[in-house]
Amino acid sequence: MDDDDRVFRALADPTRRHLLDRLFERDGRTLTELESELEMTRFGVMKHLRVLEDAGLVVTRRSGREKLHFLNPVPIRFIHDRWIDKYTERRVSALATLKHELEESA
């Protein structure tokens, strides 16, 4: 499994996407804080966080006695560059050309 596989696999689950959204809203949370927002056992949340961590989408840092979970958006940037930009670029550049031409003639 390569890096992209791990990211797509991690994102292909609603609970894990929900966890990323929670961290996007407020970053640097403990397991206990994240668990309190999900209808799921602590063990279940840990399992999902592990998959996100393996994909590089979540990084943990220690702060005193707490283990904090941070959203790491860099792998999503790679997916964007590799799998989204490529397929949307042509349309976007057509619009940019149109804008340029309209403004030139204005």
Partner: protein, 151 residues
Amino acid sequence: MTTMTKETTQVYSVFIRATPEQVWDGITKPEFTARYFYGSVIDSSYEPGTPYLGWAEDRSMQYVDGEVIEADPPRKLVTTWRAMYDPETAAEPHSRVTWEIEPAGEHVTKLTVIHDELEAAPKTAANVAGGWSFVLSGLKTLLETGEPLSG
């Protein structure tokens, strides 16, 4: 390390197929930073207490203003950080940026950027949130596919 104020701390991490020394060069040498850091030429002697500045390539504009807090090549660089390219962020106090470089296997290095002390700099916090992903993505591409680093 001091206790993190978690809600105003941003963490970005990337694995790069390069040595820690190459990653260090990539983040400290202006000829590299100009190619992925929004064109910024980073200017610093990397001695604690000395300036850490980012400029447009033609020096017409200053992008980053800061000071070196700690430099431990090729492991760690800590600087203060004020984004000068936007009047709103330039008006805020300095925050702090920590680059951590760790070996993560044969010819693989883990680079982590921690941007914190953003409590008094909410505009900066919002402004850099997408930017660091772009910068780290660009650095990885440069080091993995760009011209080989000169030794």
